[in-house]
Symmetry: C3
């Protein structure tokens, strides 16, 4: 089941990436590259930082093809995407919580400290989107809006907490993902935001 | 011979990087740093992602000096560079195909799957330029123009294909590099472009 | 003593990062993320490039909490910060030289070549700030102004030089850090700058 969710998640991330690339007038190869970086970048950054080799896409190169294919289909079907707005946001939220739980799980299996497990989930969930925004020369969205990172922290915290309390692995995964998904969708629906820190000065 | 080509390639990349840094008014240390990141960054990203330690410049720190020296010479000789426009584009194209073949070769020696070999070539050929553009706060050029990434894919594919067909290592290297070089120069000459994916929307 | 200096350094870097994040209207989670990336990113990039696992914050996850707490306190106390301008620049300079010496020391212990030791110090001292600027979508400051990278090179060179001449470890550390600190403060005070390489062209 986790594999099915993972495949949905990388597909959804590839689709968001393709639309972001289209906003920047990238060519078809650029669209595929951005899609692969977005969908597989979070896991790659995590694995490199934790020294967890080989990376997912080195073991399973078919994920690269899935991602590239999803991006090209999105580019072709972009006008229809507009009408699938809600489905699209739903898949993106699903991707976030699935990646977060997978990231936590990898760090748990490496028996790392609990803070690192939480950070591993955040990196897996969020770093792909950050890389996408850096390559598209935007200020990373997650640092500014929409509780994206917060949803990842809460999902990861819930998963780790229930694991430490001895809950069944599948139960804690599904519970954490469901809660995170609902939290994210509510945040989008009611436009919840974290307070911002606004600072202006002259010296630098 | 591959070493000679590699040295020409890092020199050429250092020169492109120095000119990019000059457009952004960087100081001399910044010029050297951008040059090292551009010339050695592609190989470093590849080695980190594949877990292929130690990195090239850790084994051969003299490459750092060569790169920095080439960048400083370029900064000094910038007015003359303008007239060497064609030589410069030629060296840059040579760098792309040499890096691509070297990247494929590294992954082949690690006996990685064929898709990963192709990606390894692309990363080695292109990631340095992407890092340069990110540090200079541009949208990476390769994602938008000039078949840069496509040339890398074609060169890598040709090299891998002829290797699988049992061709001699040197012959497949030279063949793939020559073909890629000609392809790139023709693309520049006739301004070939991949179709672009242009997408505009309001929601995000 | 080095540990105490290291803790001061990551705190100072977290503070600079929080102010940079505030200039870009990031939310509280974004401020913490930027602070962790800035304070611990230099060391992480070094460790990943040198294959020096596990990373500092994986071994000592408490550093993540210290950094995040320093960033939040800075965000709360931002109006007061303005008056602490000089203290702040002093701490930032201290962070630079401490990180540089620690980075050199890590590479020395891995018995890497002398050029790599110098580069390791520079990466540790400067990469965190570069990551901060890339995530905030600025052109990295260090590449343009204020002798930041140069101070790191000089500090590292002095430390390595005195080590090779057989000086006591603590003495060379303190000497190099003191010299680098004074150099940096003088550079700030008298607005020393490296010559810039300014280049304009039409073709690209």
């Amino acid at each position: 089941m986790l594999l099915a969710l993972y495949l949905i998640a990388i597909t959804a991330e590839a689709m968001t990436a393709a639309l972001a690339a289209g906003r920047r007038d990238m060519d078809w190869v650029g669209v595929c590259i951005i899609a692969c970086v977005t969908a597989l970048g979070g896991g790659s950054v995590r694995d490199v930082l934790l020294g967890h080799y080989p990376l997912t896409w080195v073991l399973h190169p078919e994920y690269l093809w899935i991602t590239a294919a999803a991006a090209l289909l999105t580019a072709i079907a972009a006008p229809v995407m507009r009408r699938l707005h809600r489905l699209f946001l739903f898949l993106d939220a699903l991707g976030l919580v699935v990646f977060t739980v997978i990231g936590c799980q990898v760090a748990l299996q490496m028996q790392l400290p609990i803070t690192v497990v939480l950070v591993s989930g955040m990196i897996t969930g969020c770093a792909g989107g950050v890389l996408r925004d850096v390559l598209c020369n935007d200020i990373p969205l997650l640092l500014r809006k929409e509780l994206y990172a917060s949803v990842s922290v809460v999902t990861g915290g819930l998963f780790i907490g229930s694991q430490y309390l001895g809950a069944n692995l599948n139960a804690s995964m599904i519970g954490a993902m469901l809660f995170g998904l609902v939290f994210r969708l509510l945040a989008l629906r009611f436009n919840w935001q974290m307070p911002k820190f606004v600072y202006r000065d002259e010296w630098r």
